[in-house]
Symmetry: C2
Subunit: 476 residues, 2 copies
């Protein structure tokens, strides 16, 4: 009994990128909408990608000495209010619990939008002496920010993330940890998600509420918009002073700790979709694909075909492999594999079996390769490895092709009206220029990259002496 339903088509990305994105999210069965406005369901296929991300990141964190913890999801109003910049940044977008059981609460609680305040409270209780430092904790949890406009993975009222929070004896150690974690994120983005990133520092305007310095990794999506993909904050001793987090030093003096925090969220799944996807659906980098290989039997009712498919699956035990033995047609199964972004499909039918070979089709290039069954394991490993590397290279080439330079305001304006991508330009470090650029062009400073270049001597906006080279872009 063949299934008559064909894989549903998705909007072409050239036609409407936003609709293409939503179509992929829904039709690859990554998400579902819910009765809870602004929130979404992570369906099995979507959550499995998050599990892969978690497992890769968590291992990297632990290698640097991170320990996981879990703190409450609620923050009493008085605790949230202890650090002035922080509460100003977050209070307008939090959800408030006002009733517990059948009674009103004495003090209202917000659902954590982030947990700096709770970690300060915890560290204040548990840190006594320099022997208790550093504290390098992380938690995997969900947070809530009452966004008005929401989009799957990119912006929703509840999202999943990890938030690391550390406390150190010295300024230097805190700064080193801030940069260390940014590097972990950058390495993860490039070597696991195959997404190249620009590492840099956020401007004062764009930094995190309560931070002394915010560092970021910025990626370019297929449509030329920028996506902030991970941030790492150095708080200095600002939070410690607001919350009274102190330790006794070796010299027996009472000192404030220096703190950091750093986070990466489920929006990285959005980045994978928007960097690698195409008009047939999702394209998953092999390292993050919950299923790396799907084996599709051809003429599966012919004797021995299904058995052969399962035999090949067993031989490919070193990879994440499935056999699609549903009663749908091979054509439907090919489209399905493409929609779901499974890196490789292996086609095996009676003729292939006779010839002792199979056909391997790569999702990213659609290249079809005849492979001798004797060499199956080796070739699958080689093709997956090549695909992982080439996906990063292609994304890097795309990013570089869409990175422009402007040395004066005319060029700058022209680039943003004609092109989409990053524009590198010099800046005087004056907030007024940033504000003006945002207002007139809808463009924000993405970061002051660690790798500075001197493109010109004057600010692209006001013409005064330039101090920093900045990546500018339209952001998600």
């Amino acid at each position: 009994m063949a299934d008559k339903k064909l894989v549903e088509s998705i909007t072409a990305m050239e036609e409407d990128f936003a609709q293409w994105y939503t179509d992929v999210c829904v039709k690859a069965e990554l998400i579902d909408y819910t009765s809870v406005k602004g929130c979404m369901v992570f369906r099995p296929e979507g959550y499995a990608i998050w599990e892969m991300i978690q497992s890769e990141l968590d291992r990297r964190f632990k290698e640097t000495g991170v320990r996981n913890v879990y703190l409450p999801m609620f923050i009493p109003e008085s605790l949230l209010e202890k650090e002035k910049d922080h509460v100003e940044g977050f209070a307008p977008e939090v959800a408030w619990v006002t009733h517990g059981g059948l009674a009103p609460l004495q003090e209202k609680l917000c659902v954590r939008p982030t947990s700096e305040t709770l970690f300060c409270d915890y560290y204040k209780n548990t840190i006594q002496s320099y022997r208790d430092l550093p504290q390098v904790c992380n938690q995997w949890c969900s947070v809530v920010r009452w966004e008005k406009e929401t989009r799957p993975f990119l912006r929703s009222r509840e999202f999943l993330w990890q938030e690391g929070h550390t406390a150190h004896a010295t300024v230097e150690e805190a700064e080193a940890r801030t940069i260390q974690m940014l590097n972990v994120y950058a390495d993860f983005m490039e070597n696991v998600l195959a997404i190249p990133v620009i590492k840099g520092r956020k401007t004062e305007k764009e930094k995190f509420a309560g931070a002394e310095a915010t560092y970021t990794i910025e990626a370019l999506m297929h449509d030329g918009k920028a996506l902030q993909s991970g941030t790492s904050h150095n708080f200095g001793d600002g939070f410690a002073k607001a919350f009274g987090v102190q330790y006794t030093s070796k010299e027996n003096k009472l000192e404030y700790v220096h703190q950091t925090s750093w986070g990466m969220t489920t929006r990285t799944i959005g980045a994978v979709i928007m960097v690698h996807g195409d008009n047939s659906g999702l394209v998953l980098p092999p390292k993050i694909a919950p299923t790396q290989v799907v084996i599709i039997p051809i003429q599966q009712r012919k004797e021995g075909v299904l058995e052969k498919a399962f035999e090949l699956r067993d031989r490919l035990g070193a990879f994440r492999v499935k056999v699609d033995d549903t009663d749908k047609s091979p054509g439907w199964k090919f489209s399905d594999q493409e929609m779901r972004g499974i890196p490789l499909r292996v086609e095996i039918g009676p003729k292939d079996m006779e010839a002792g070979k199979c056909v391997i089709c790569r999702r990213d290039t659609r290249e079809k390769l005849e492979v001798s069954l004797d060499e199956l394991e080796t070739r699958v490993g080689e093709i997956l490895a090549a695909m992982q590397v080439e996906m990063l290279e292609r994304a890097r080439a795309h990013r570089d092709e869409h990175t422009y330079v402007a040395t004066n305001y005319e060029e700058f304006q022209k680039l943003f009206s004609e092109k989409s991508g990053f524009v590198k330009a010099m800046w005087c470090e004056d907030r007024a220029c940033e504000d003006q650029i945002k207002e007139k062009l809808g463009v924000t400073s993405r970061c002051m990259p660690f790798e500075q270049e001197e493109l010109a001597t004057t600010c692209v906006c006001c013409g005064k002496p330039a101090k920093k080279m900045v990546y500018w872009g339209r952001a998600y």
Copy 2:
């Protein structure tokens, strides 16, 4: 510089079991209290146990075809209200979000106390035909129940758990899944946590709000109180009818699905503490211990001692091993290992090195064994395996010694006034008897065990004909 602070003593369990329990939770650094009333911090040592539990359970779930998902943490009031028994059971103990951002919400949202309603909403959207069945999903998350009295791990306003939710075409398949997951829990409790359990069915009075049948595993703590350690519910088609979750059958008819749910929580950590702990602190079964072996160098400033300790650690790479090379005294380190419940400690000093041996001390029995360094890996493996088995045996012996039989009310009353433990007794299945027993003796029915015995022909309470043998106990 030796640390002068000794490991703080804990209350003896014979003196005050509740205080002993709290002392262990705090002094083994499993938890910390917070500014958020009724909520707790899972500190690194406590959360690491939960990570071990998650990893073991998740693997077992996935072997049965479970796929993980994530649904929103909020439930609109109207959704919670769709199933009558369910809302009656949960509404009195939920936290309500009434404001999002700076504005009041049009409809208030409760923070999920459990997610049956959300899963029904999700399944209603995504299940169309028999081809979409079964759906076997699970989520790892935190839930909130506005408890008045709270205790670390056992009862808190927010706790961590997993909740599985499945949808099936037939009654039989739903019942089979309900029992299958109960068996997964029982196997996990016995073979990983070394805690024996009684499997059985809850009475109508004690079943889950909205379920047709609730199955449970019940464990006995060291103080003779019972702990419900995992539950599995068969909902029949009750929720499906309330939410309209239907599918088209092979015969092209519209049918309601049959659903189940099943959950296990962080209270299992409380069970580990209360079943295995002693007056020196925590005792962790090897399979769940984040650190299985701590190597304690003796006279560590003597040449070669620390190097030897790290060499042994490297040789024990198949286990989870740490070296305690802090500047504290060996005596302090021994107490610390005991407090934290690390299964084995390996003592190695200059004399041991000369003799080519080390001393291994088991946490549960405190037995000290001289082990030749040549045999270290083998012996550590053997001792850990023996400890895992013997901990279960000891817990089972304790449980059996504290399980009594009553054939009439006089015996029943006497046992509960003189002993603490399970009492097996016959019951007429009348709710009135259950209510009376609870009111007069403070005792509840724990379960109607799968392994029924005919201890008498009449109900232990009213003397009418008995229908079921029940385990009764005082519960956490």
